[in-house]
Amino acid sequence: MSKQSLLDMLQQQGITRRGFLKYCSALTSLMALPPSMMPAVAAALETARRPSVIWLSFQECTGCTESLTRSHSPTIEGLIFNHISLDYHHTLQAASGTAAEQAREQAMHDNKGKYLVIVDGSIPLDNPGFSTIAGISNVDMLRETVANAHAVIAVGTCAAYGGLPHASPNPTGAVSVGELVKDKPLINIPGCPPVPTVISGVLAHYLTFGSIPELDELGRPKVFYGQSIHDRCYRRSFYDKGKFAMSFDDEGARKGWCLYRLGCKGPMTYNACATLKWNQQTSWPVESGHGCLGCSEPDFWDAGSFYRALSIPDGDYAKAAGYAVAAGVAVGAVAGVMNRSTKASAVSQHSPVSVDDFSVNKNNNQEG
């Protein structure tokens, strides 16, 4: 933990009070706080200290790191070098091998009880040898690193809920961070990958206020995951009017009608894509003409075809997940039970997507 405050550092760089206030204004927006909170953000940042951050990457595709490094608000350089002391990230750091592991151990030793651990990727339990770093299994590295951490952030659906590695039949016995870390504050930032500004927004909240934001029952910050894609979707009015695209090239699709009938998972997906968008707010999947895949929800890979409407049952799994939601039970819990009981049959039920999936009429004909 640096002894210098962020304000001290900014002043040393010749940044004016105006510049600091502008930075606070951008951060307030980034954290999805109301603009009236800007003075509170400025007051908190005046005394904020840079925490040490250890970033662990396990069974992942590096998409989450790619997403974060494309976050432009304010800038990733500013976030990493001004706001946090990123002491270990084996993809981004220059050091490798023994030197890299020494950096992690040094940061843990110097900042005992105060450092932040960020994890992307799931952790294999069936055979620890499935994924190792410097000869250390993921589960051992996680337990050792988290032991004296202040808080843990699980970035991406793999770290938050198991993600793709956890999909049936879960060949590596992949589990989420939350299944192993029970005694530390844990924030889940799911998404495949998460919206970059959501990752940096949650980090900014922690760095600014030194606390974790309010979370929902799945451990997600409510400020970003509090509303469904469906509720914030600009195509919602077409859903309400009953105007749906029935294939990806029909009149409804060209007119921008609702994609629900083409499998959009917006009604059951909680994320901030509809407002924050992607690629510097250029667009997001629904605006590009494709339904939401539901990537920030537990077990979205196993929740049936991406191109079947939610109203059409898609095997036992979808039914069970639907009942669980109706009963207020975490989908992940049901998914875990289903995984164990149907591990063998999952492979045979898995149906590849064909061109016929892209049209409601063809789907209906098949079912008929």
Partner: protein, 136 residues
């Protein structure tokens, strides 16, 4: 071409609207009344709103451009544009890479950030005194 924003996109589909535009205009109207009656400043973060393609541009066109434009250069450019409705400011913050990092509508007499700040005045005064002592 350096940025995505360099790709010019013209959206021509007025049927796609979120319905948020009338709500924002109503909020601005109420905020202007509060500014007149109690000098209450109000800010609206446009990035927190869902917009369809082209809808935000339509809002900007409706607000129009007023008499005052202020450019601030601190950690990248910021533009404070008074709209045709006096007291309604459209504020765009850019980072040093000229990427938009914040867009706010502020209802105030003058945005706070434009005023010279106490700390900056103090430091400027020190610099001036140092400069004069070196010159003499």
């Amino acid at each position: 071409m350096q940025h995505l924003s360099d790709i010019k996109i013209a959206v021509d589909n007025p049927s796609l609207e979120t319905g948020n535009l009338p709500g924002i205009l109503s909020e601005i109207e109420q905020a202007l009344e509060e500014l007149l009656n109690s000098k209450q400043v109000h800010r609206i973060d446009l990035r927190a709103m869902p917009w369809s393609a082209g809808e935000e541009h339509k809002l900007e066109q409706m607000l129009g451009r007023g008499e005052v434009t202020i450019e601030l250069n601190a950690l990248g450019k910021s533009i404070f544009q008074e709209t045709r409705y006096s007291g309604v400011w459209l504020i765009s913050h850019y980072n040093e890479a000229e990427e938009l990092i914040g867009k706010i509508i502020e209802i105030s007499y003058l945005p706070d950030m434009v005023f010279a700040q106490q700390e900056d005045i103090s430091r400027g005064l020190e610099r001036l005194k140092t400069q004069r002592s070196q010159d003499s």
